[in-house]
């Protein structure tokens, strides 16, 4: 229910052994390198090793031919090439590239020719009705002919040229937008006729290659396509046979290159110091033994492991480690931002609060079960992470559905169960009953108060972890804020609801006024604790003005954050209200219509509420709670992995 412990690995050794170290670390798949230079204040003589990644072009070309030949890349054992010299690998990749590339080129060429022929057929198709040998037309000495298309509007406008014997268009086909056809004109009038047609937006099509009638030409092209398709099929078969024969070698080469590529990424983070190297990175603490073992085989190196908690200035990467129930909610934590190494991982908090709040706001046994089915489908079939998260939420909805006694909007359906189990005449909570409505609203605010107080406690713990004593004691969400908010709410509840007068002078001064003063003075007090001088900054006047405005904002945020939880109660009422509308509409029609409207109404209400509740609860989590105790500025633990290079 927290973050994995991380360790900083600091490796120093002779340059000659760097490749071995890199290979050993890369093979573990748990090492995340960091720029070694960043760990030293004195960078003199510390030279970054930024060698060019020479395997990258080879890997790219191999990936390309594998993709084009339909071979799915995967990492396999590549012992044959792991220790080969780069030239041997380069030569083999070159040969495979050339041989396979030639076959692919033949196939692509046939494909391109087929496309070209089809385009020509498509153009010829528009003139198919023209039973004239095109070559003979083109050979005419005193007449010019233009094939092409004329927009609909322009074709209509041609009527205005009926008295001009040279402006004549012979349409062959019409495709809705254009008339495809041909116009002819004597050579001496061609310029004038061309100008007219050009202004009518005639788009000319060059058909120089056309021989015979358009129909004959299209038939010839169809024949050509059949030949080309045969060539394409032959090339495909050769590619398939070649890949089958060389599959193992291709995959082994691919895997070896991926390894080199990944290891190069580790190497590039190292620094050279005279004839030695320094390589620094992060590993989960549980792998310390394994790393130590693999590096023990290399003689010249010295390895030091340090706890990540001792290196706060280098912001250690974080790896979330949560139990089964909380793990799906890491999705929401990551969406907000990963915790930094010295922060609390809020996944458990969001898991508990989100599940409960969602259940209360989406309380219906039937809708909960439907959502459970949908969630299982999303998780198992669609592989959506949201599915795993919705499973506990839907179960919670079903449980709270029992509490509020609602099954697909039928509010009385569970009454016999209540009677049998608890001896009640009807359901315990009727959301739309006058008195209950107010209780629901007050309860929603009550839940909000409790959650905000928990958020403040989490903030105090986080502040202590970060050694931010000022924030922990005098912050708006620190101890002072907690005492102020808790006392104010407790006092108001005692005085106004329970009629127990606790708000006496001492109570107000000590538990309300004093925390406010401490919050007001939090900056100077924090500076005093740190032993800093100049506690009020530029001037006391500007300090007071700034902080007065800030205090006003703080007061508003306490009220608005608390009131924000009203939506929890409001959604219970919304559900009951919406389902009531569905039933009113259903009752307005006959028995068949009743069932149909009920089903459609339930689907609409369910979809709408699931979406709204999901968003609203997330909003409460992020804005009202996370903002009080969580920064989310951590960086993800991303070890160098050969597997990542596949994509």
């Amino acid at each position: 229910m927290s973050l994995s412990d991380m360790k900083l690995v600091n490796i120093v050794g002779k340059m000659d052994d760097l490749d071995d170290v890199v290979s050993a670390l890369g093979a573990t798949g748990v090492f995340q390198p960091d720029d070694a230079g960043e760990f030293f204040s004195d960078k003199e003589n510390l030279i970054p090793i930024n060698s060019a990644n020479d395997v990258s072009p080879m890997l790219d070309s191999l990936k390309e031919i594998m993709a084009e030949s339909g071979l799915r890349p995967k990492i396999v054992s590549s012992e044959r090439f792991d220790h080969s010299d780069p030239d041997t690998v380069r030569e083999r990749v070159g040969v495979l590239n050339q041989e396979l590339g030639e076959l692919i080129r033949q196939r692509d060429e046939a494909e391109a020719k087929i496309k070209y022929c089809r385009d020509k057929i498509e153009k010829t198709r528009h003139f198919i009705g023209l039973g004239i040998d095109i070559k003979k037309i083109k050979d005419c000495e005193y007449i010019v002919t233009r094939f092409g298309k004329l927009p609909n509007d322009s074709y209509k406008k041609l009527e205005n040229y009926s008295e001009n014997p040279y402006v004549e268009f012979f349409p062959c086909t019409h495709d809705g937008r254009y008339y495809w056809g041909v116009y002819a004109a004597p050579l001496e009038e061609a310029q004038m006729v061309d100008r007219i047609f050009s202004r009518l937006y005639f788009e000319r099509i060059i058909i120089d290659e056309m021989k015979g009638t358009p129909k004959e030409f299209a038939a010839a092209l169809e024949g050509e396509i059949i030949d080309l398709q045969k060539q394409q099929k032959d090339a495909d078969e050769k590619i398939e046979a070649y890949v089958k024969e060389n599959r193992d070698e291709l995959l082994e080469l691919f895997s070896a290159l991926c390894k080199h590529h990944a290891y190069q990424a580790i190497k590039n983070h190292a620094c050279k110091y005279h004839s030695s190297f320094v390589l620094i990175g992060w590993i989960p603490a549980e792998y310390e033994g394994r790393i130590q073992t693999v590096l023990n085989n290399i003689n010249s190196i010295e390895v030091i492991f340090t706890k990540a908690s001792d290196e706060p200035q280098h912001s250690p990467p974080v790896k979330l480690k949560n139990k089964f129930f909380f793990r799906p909610f890491e999705y929401y934590t990551e969406m907000y931002g990963l915790p930094n190494y010295h922060e609390i991982d809020p996944s458990w908090f969001i898991a508990l609060t989100y599940t409960v709040l969602f259940g209360i706001m989406f309380a219906d046994v039937g809708h909960g079960i439907m959502l459970l089915i949908a969630a299982i489908y999303m998780l198992k079939v669609k592989k959506m992470p949201l599915g795993a998260l919705l499973i506990p939420c839907s179960i919670s909805s079903t449980i709270f559905g029992f509490v509020f006694g609602s099954v697909f909007g039928f509010e009385e359906l569970l009454n016999p169960i209540y009677k049998a189990l608890f001896g009640l005449q009807e359901k315990p909570i009727d959301a739309l009953e006058g008195g209950t409505t107010m209780i629901l609203i007050y309860s929603a605010v009550g839940i909000g108060v409790v959650l905000l107080l928990i958020a403040m406690i989490l903030n105090i713990i986080s502040c202590f972890k970060r050694a931010d004593i000022g924030g922990a004691l005098f912050g708006v969400n620190g101890l002072a804020g907690f005492v102020f908010y808790g006392s104010l709410i407790a006092g108001l509840v005692c005085d106004l609801v329970l009629h127990i007068p606790v708000m006496n002078t001492a109570y107000v001064l000590l538990l309300i006024v004093l925390p406010v003063v401490l919050i007001f003075l939090r900056e100077p007090l924090t500076k005093l604790i740190r032993g800093e001088k100049d506690v009020f900054g530029e001037s006391i006047g500007s300090f007071i003005v700034d902080n007065l405005f800030e205090m006003f904002e703080v007061a508003i945020s306490y009220v608005s954050n608390t009131m924000s939880f009203l939506r929890v109660g409001a959604f219970i009422l919304v559900h009951a209200g919406m389902m009531k509308v569905v039933f009113v509409l259903a009752e307005m029609s006959g028995p068949v219509g009743y069932v149909i409207i009920l089903i459609i109404g339930n689907i609409i209400v369910m979809a709408l509420e699931a979406l709204l509740v999901g968003i609203q609860v997330l909003r409460l989590e992020y804005y009202e709670m996370f903002s009080r105790f969580y920064n989310g500025d951590g960086r993800r633990y991303q070890p160098v992995s050969v597997q990542d290079k596949i994509d």
Binding site: P151, S154, R177, R199
Partner: protein, 343 residues
Amino acid sequence: MNIVNPSSAIIAKAKAKYGHRLTKKDYDALVKCDSVGDVVRYLKAYTYYQHYLTGVGSDIHRGNLENILRRESFNNFLSLCRYRSRDSAVTGYILRRTEISEIIKFCTLLTIGRPREYIFTVPLYFVEHTALPLDHLAEVSDFQGLLDLLEHHPYRRLLEPFRPKNGEVLDISAINDALDIYSLKELYRAINSQKNKDQRTALTTLFDTLCDYQNYSRIMRMKKFYQMSNEEVRRHLLPYGSLSGRKLDIYLASESYEEIRQALADTKVGRRANRIETDDEMAIKGRYDQCRHEMYFSTDPEVVLLSYCIVSETELKNIITIIEGVRYSMESESIAQMLILSE
């Protein structure tokens, strides 16, 4: 029973359509296109115009492309008009404006002795929405023929005084003014006949503002480029808007161009017009800015309809400018300078 007020539907529809307008990023990319084909490809791939250009290939004739865009834009306007009665002030004004534009186009061709070429530009998509026999206009060969063709239309009476005598050239500018004034007169009459006072006020204010921009622009240009006398300037101004009486006298009394610019600062519209540096663009840019403002803030369906029309018309003009600029291999910076864009 109407569940939805058709007038409110116009506001929602127009604003939704306005949301699809081209952005600065689109204009930046469009002006950098190397060919008309690239412009078509961009419009089809990234903008709302893809709905206008379904089935259009990137090898389309430039003129045909412009024609399609104009036609679809007009159809777009008609789709909004479905929610208004045909005799609404704005709808009538837009249709009248298109008719006048066609008459002026024909008169221009008549002046240069090529009336038959009107057939190349006649917008056939508009023919069924107007009582004017536009499709027969190309058969007319002289002014008398035009008057005969418009026999049963109010435009005949308006054109009659401009009949050229003894080989005189048609005064296109005067015809344009006369037709514009007629159109505005009809518009204000339609506005004043509306029962709803708020609607009347909203429309009158908008059109007064648009007329003001037009008049400011005319004064600037006539004074600066044509050095016209005050009487001539007065004759060419639209008799609508807030520019009249003493206010107009002050402008006309200004001797230099700078003084007129300074005098503009006395009125609200004038101050806004004064911020537009190019005199030629003052009317069109002022109109565009005003209509963009109305698109955001107006709740009057007629005002929103007109504003949307003008804003989309400006956008269409911009696209056509780009198409022509690209076609004639102009520098992208030069094309960009010719566009009417928001600040």
